[in-house]
Amino acid sequence: MSKVNPPNEKPANGNQQPKVGVYVCRCGGNISDVVSVEKVAEAAGQMPDVVVARQNTFMCSHPGQQMIVDDIAKLGLNRVVVAACSPRLHELTFRKTLVRAGLNAYLFEHANIREQVSWVSKSDPEGATAKATRLVGAAVAKVRLSRPLDPIKVDATRQVLIIGGGVSGLRCARDLSQSGFRVVLVEQSAALGGRLTELGRLYPVQVEAREVLHSLISEVSRDAAIQVLTSAEVTAVSGSIGNFSVAVRCAQQETTIHVGAIVLATGFDTYEPLPGEYGYAEFPEVITLPQFVRLLEKQGPSDGQLQRNGRPVKNVCLVHCVGSRQIEGIHQPGPDGRLHEYCSRFCCTAALQAANEIRARFPAVNVFDVYRDIRTYGRGHESYYEQASKQGVIFFRFLAEQLPQIRRADADGSALVVQVKDTLTWGEDLEIPADLVVLVTGAVPRDLSRLIDMLKLSRSPDGFLQEVHPKLRPVETAVSGVFLAGGCQAPMDVGESCTAASAAAARVSAALLKGYVELEPFAAVADPALCTGTGACIEVCQHQRAISLVDVMADGVTLRRAQVNPALCGGCGMCVPACPHGAIQVDGWRLEQFEAMVDAIAADY
C-alpha cells in the first residue's frame, strides 16, 4: 500500500564542510524599525561556518530570493538561514528557493525575528537585536548539522470520502468525479440535500431550492463514479493522506473504505432560540425564519396561507440577528455554552426575500422589519433591500444595547406587540402590532465532536471548523488530506458553499492527481551502527507497524535491528528518549540539533 524510499543516500552537498549563508530581512521596516538588522547580519558573519551574511528589504521578494540563488552559485553555499517573519509564512518559499538553486530543500533553517522579536519588543530595540542575533545563532547551529532529506512518497488512493450530502457535498462530489476520482458520499440522514430540502425560493435568483437540488441530485445519482450512502455514519478513521481507512456504518452494516482524502461538508445547524427569548416557546405566534419559510410553502402546514392559530395574519414582524452577533453581557449563551458573536451572513437577504414574498403574495399583510444592520452585501442582494423598501416593508433599527421586547397585546387586534427603541426615528419608543413574529435565526456550528475527535480537527473561536489560514489555505485543515467545503467552515449561502466545495475539490485533485502524495520527510530513522535491538522504541511507539525489528547481516552475522517505515511514522519523536543508545532520531529535528541550538542561545555574541 505504501512505498518506502531507500535509506538516505546523502547527496553530495550534505557531507561537505558546511558553508552557511545568512540573510536578514528588514520586512520593509516591520523588522528593521526595532531590530538593528545591520548588527544582526554583522554578528552572523562571525558565526562558525558562515560564509556570507546579508540583509534585504524583502527577503521573500523576487530580488531577495534571487540574492540567495546567486550566492549559492557564486559562493558555493550549501546551507542557508533566513531571519525574517514566521516560518509559517515563508519557510516553504525559501525551501523552494534552495531547490531552484540546486540545493536540497532541507538544508534551510528559518529564524523568526518578526512575530517573535520585532513585533513583541517595540520598547527594547537593543534587547531585540541581541535576541534576534541569538536566534540567528541557533538557526545557524541547527543548519550546520542538517542533512539533505527527500520527501516521503506514498501511493495515494484516487478515491475520496465526502462527509455530508448537502449542496456542498453534492457539488464537491460532482467536481471530483468529473476530474477522474471515485467518490464515496456519506450522509447521516435518509435523504440527500441537507438544509436546502427545507427551503423555498433561493436568493439571488428566485429559483426553487427543490429544483436546484433536483438537478444536482440526479446528476450525482446517475454518476457511476459516485457511491452514495445515506443513513450512514463514519465510525472510525485511521491512516493519513493518500491512505485513509474509514469505517462506515450503513444499514446496520459496517464496511471499511479506503480513500486518499476526506472532505467535510457537514454544514451548519440553525439557531434554536432559548425559551422566552423574544417570546419564543412562550407565544405560539413567535416562530423562527426556517419555520416561517415552511409556512410560506404551498405544500406547507397551512397550504401556503398566512395563518397562525387558525387566525389570518395581518401584521408580520421580522426581528433580525437572533442568535447571531451576540454580545457578552447582553445575550445569553446557548445550550452549548457558546455566545454566537459572528454574523450569520445569509439571513438578512433570506429574511428580506421572505418579506418581499409576503408583500407580493399577500398585499394586504403589513411587514415590519426590525434590524441592527441590513447586510445585503452580496451580488444582487442589495436589490432585495431596495425592493423591500419599494414594496412598503417598514424598517426599524435597534441597537444591541436596547433589544426589542415582545409582549401580548392588551387590546383586541393583533396578538402581540413588539416594542422597539427605533434609531431611525431618533430613538423613539415604538410599538409594532404583530400577529406573527419571525425571529431571523442564523447558523450555529453542528455538534461534530465525534468527527472532530476521530480526525483530530480544530474549531475556530466561533465553533465552526477551522481552516489553516483564511487567505493562504482557506479550504484545508491542519490535518493533511482533510478538507473543508461549505457551511461547516462558516455560515455561507448556496453560491458561496458551492464555490468553497469546488475550491476544495481543486485542492484534493492537486494532492491526489499523480497517484502518490509527497510527505514531509520528518520521520524517525534508526542508526544500525548504534542500535542493539532492544526494541524499546517499538514499545513506546503509537503508530502501528511504524517501527519493527528486522534481521540485518553485518560481517557475516545476523543481527536484530530496529527499522522505521517512514510512511507510517508520525514524526513525534517519542521513541527518541526511549532508546538507551540514542540510536533513533527524527530526521530534521535530531536531538544534537536541539542541543546545538541551546548552546548558541546560551552563548554570548
Partner: protein, 139 residues
C-alpha cells in the same frame, strides 16, 4: 557585545510545539503585545522528543528558566503529550535531587490563539527568574 559582561541578562527558553504553542507565540506578535526580550523560542514538533536530562543540560549551559509549551491534550500526536508529562516529571525530580529550583522548569499548554496565557506564563517566569536572582543561575 562586550556589555554583556557587566549586566548579564537572564535567558529563558520557550520550547513551543509546531501545532499550537509556536503559532500561539506568533499570534502574540500579530496583536503586537510586548514581552521580555530575554526569551528564546525553539520550535519543536512534539516535546516528547526530549529526555529528562536535556532540561538539566540546558540549565548547566546557562539557561535560567524553561517553559515547555505543549499542545496539552490537543496534541496531534497520539500519546505524545502523556509521554512528555512523564518525562517532565522525571526531569523535575532530577532537578530537586541536584538542588535546582524546580520552578525553573514550567510546563503549560498554549493554543494557537492563547495570547493572554502565553504572556502570563512568560511574565511569571521572568519575575521568578528576576526574584531568585543569582540563586537560580545553574552551575
Amino acid at each position: 557585545m562586550s556589555e554583556v559582561q557587566q549586566a548579564r541578562r537572564p535567558k529563558i527558553l520557550l520550547l513551543a510545539t509546531t501545532a499550537c504553542a509556536y503559532p500561539g507565540a506568533d499570534y502574540v506578535g500579530q496583536i503586537h503585545s510586548e514581552y521580555s526580550t530575554d526569551t528564546y523560542i525553539i520550535r519543536v514538533p512534539a516535546l516528547a522528543v526530549f529526555p529528562p536530562e536535556f532540561y538539566l543540560r540546558c540549565f548547566q549551559k546557562g539557561i535560567d528558566g524553561i517553559i515547555a509549551m505543549s499542545c496539552g491534550h490537543e496534541c496531534p500526536y497520539p500519546g505524545a503529550y502523556e509521554r512528555f508529562a512523564e518525562r517532565i516529571g522525571r526531569a523535575q525530580e532530577l532537578m530537586k535531587r541536584q538542588g535546582l529550583d524546580a520552578r525553573r522548569l514550567r510546563t503549560t499548554a498554549i493554543c494557537t490563539v492563547c495570547g493572554r496565557a502565553f504572556l502570563k506564563e512568560v511574565q511569571d517566569m521572568v519575575q521568578r527568574v528576576a526574584q531568585s536572582g543569582g540563586q537560580l543561575v545553574g552551575k
